[in-house]
Amino acid sequence: MSTGTTKLDVVVSDVVPVNELVTRFHFRRRDGQLLPTFSGGAHVVVEMRDGERTRLNPYSLMGSPLDTREYTISVRRDDAGRGGSLFMHSTVRPGHEMVISYPVNLFSLDLRARKHLMLAGGIGITPFMAQTAQLAADGGNFELHYTCRTASLGTYADVLKERYDRRVRLYHDDRDERIELDRLLSSQPLGTHLYVCGPSGMIGWVRDRAAALGWPAETVHFEHFAAPQPGAPFEVTLAVSGKAIRVGEQQSLLEAIEAAGVDPPYLCRGGVCGQCETNVIAHDGNFIHNDHWLSEEEHRSCKKIMPCVSRFEGRSLVLER
């Protein structure tokens, strides 16, 4: 059976520019009903129909899980990306009818934690918006450290400061403010869980330091929001469905497979959930693995690929799809 998600028919109820890079989108159900309840850290996959092309991008839900009249997401414009964020910024307006997935949580709070220590970088703040709202409503113990390039690009920094005051600490790159990570990680009470969401360099740094300072791996939670990267076009043969496809420069392999009418299961479209894992039958060339799902050994084996984020360079690639 398919393990994908159920879809929701929504209408864009508001579009709010937040700063020069980030715009917030509000969705309500077209039938006027409440949206499904979700948990802090959940994302939805937004279907963007752009002429001939359909893009499916995951975005964290950033509203309070206690209010399901609407869902809100914040989209950072990525001028060098594959066009999903540009489509959202330039085309989507209030009243647009769109389709989104049911919420899926791959970055869940560990509710056993006596304290939740959260580290956000840039647009990685969005899942923490929902998680802090969820925890605050129930008297939860949390502390948020948020780094941004400049004060004006500190998306929702003002909102968070106002809501949670001293539980939020801001760091601005342009003022040379840095998280004193080792001090922070060394001074937490027993039972603290650590959450990090931001650029992959930041996630790697925090995970490395936490491991070096003796944090058990199961207390360190992270979410990579690895958007598929553009790259050189390549040809693929889908052995099961008997199709030959071409993956365009701005297209992911998963999108190209879907465009050919084949529907592999997916949840995150960001290389972490494992749903779209695909067996390689034959290849002549090199894999560009960008996922966080397969082990390094599996990457080296050239027997599997995650088509949502990974690509291929070379003469031929045959997949079991």
């Binding site: 309840t37 850290g41 899980p65 049911y102 919420p103 509710l111 969820q134 949840l267 494992g274």
Partner: protein, 310 residues
């Protein structure tokens, strides 16, 4: 030997156990009274670790919504923000409470609603790529103990199951279950056999029901031996991101089962051909030969269908 019989948990034929996703049937009141008796004797049949309260509220919402949807003549749920009113006519309950505030209910949310819902319920916390048996209401079980399993992960509580670990069944099942999505519940059936129509066959009460297995004779098979079918469903819980796993038990005695000749034929072949390890695990060994002999007289050798259904 083991069938991968997982399918989407969607509504089935009217009048069947699948007419509603949470089945309420004619045994409702007696099963709830049976549960209250078991709990009075052994309160540890209901446990919820401290971090599972939110999941308990998720379960309360799910069971109230589904029971009210399926049996509006018996149950009514009225919601105004977090002010909820729950009417349960068969049990004479009419409670108003604040959703999320444990002080407004007579029990914790999981215990409150599972004292009013047929079947056992295990709530599994999802973390570290595994599922953890961190809460449950278990009074109608086939020889396993919540008190023993509480806090265990998926592999730990399944450790006693024979032959399945080697086949990688639990690794694949865990992968499937951790990917269960909100709004897309799944189900499977499990089975064993029980002597006398007893819901509570727990290890805690083994002294009460275990010896019954020695009382099966060719004369009383039809009345004493029951096929026990568990309808297990799997649901993602929205606020806690946990999974709830209701296990609903149905019993049918052999005399009733064999009124359908095709069922009699099939059950004969299944019991006869079951690997020894599974027969031991299911606790059939002491009366298996007697049962097979009794059923064999109802098997004329004609074919049965290949799959589910008649």
């Amino acid at each position: 030997m083991y069938a991968v019989n997982i399918e989407p948990h969607v509504v089935g034929p009217k009048g069947s156990a699948l007419e509603n996703l949470i089945d309420v049937d004619e045994h409702y009141v007696s099963e709830m009274q049976d549960r209250a008796l078991v709990l009075a004797e052994d309160p540890l049949r209901c446990q919820s670790l401290p971090h599972m309260t939110l999941a308990g509220w998720d379960l309360l919402e799910l069971l109230m919504e589904q029971q009210a949807l399926g049996s509006p003549e018996h149950f009514t749920l009225t919601r105004d923000g977090d002010k909820w009113r729950w009417i349960n006519r068969p049990l004479g309950i009419d409670d108003s409470f604040t959703f999320g505030d444990v002080s407004t209910l007579p029990y914790g949310p999981m215990e409150y609603i599972t004292r009013q819902s047929q079947g056992d319920f295990c709530i599994l916390d999802q973390r570290d790529g595994n599922l953890w048996m961190d809460a449950g209401m278990v009074t109608t079980q086939a020889d396993w103990s919540l008190d023993f399993d509480i806090g265990m992960n998926f592999f730990e509580w399944h450790a006693p199951v024979p032959l399945a670990h080697e086949k990688g069944i639990f690794t694949r099942a865990l992968k499937f279950l951790t990917n269960i999505q909100q709004g897309k519940p799944a189900r499977r059936l499990n089975w064993t056999m029980t002597i006398n129509p007893r819901l509570d066959t727990s290890p805690e009460n083994y002294h009460k029901w275990g010896p019954d297995r020695t009382t099966v004779t060719p004369e009383n098979v039809g009345d004493k031996v029951h096929l026990r079918v568990e309808l297990q469903s799997f649901w993602r819980l929205p606020r806690s991101n946990g999974i709830v796993f209701p296990i609903r038990c149905y019993l049918i005695k052999m005399d009733e089962l064999v009124t359908q000749p095709i069922w009699a034929r099939r059950l004969h072949r299944v019991i006869r051909d079951l690997p020894e390890e599974l027969a031991n695990y299911k606790g059939l060994s002491r009366y298996r030969a007697t049962l097979v002999e009794w059923l064999s007289k109802l098997d004329d050798g004609s074919p049965t269908s290949a799959g589910f259904g008649a």
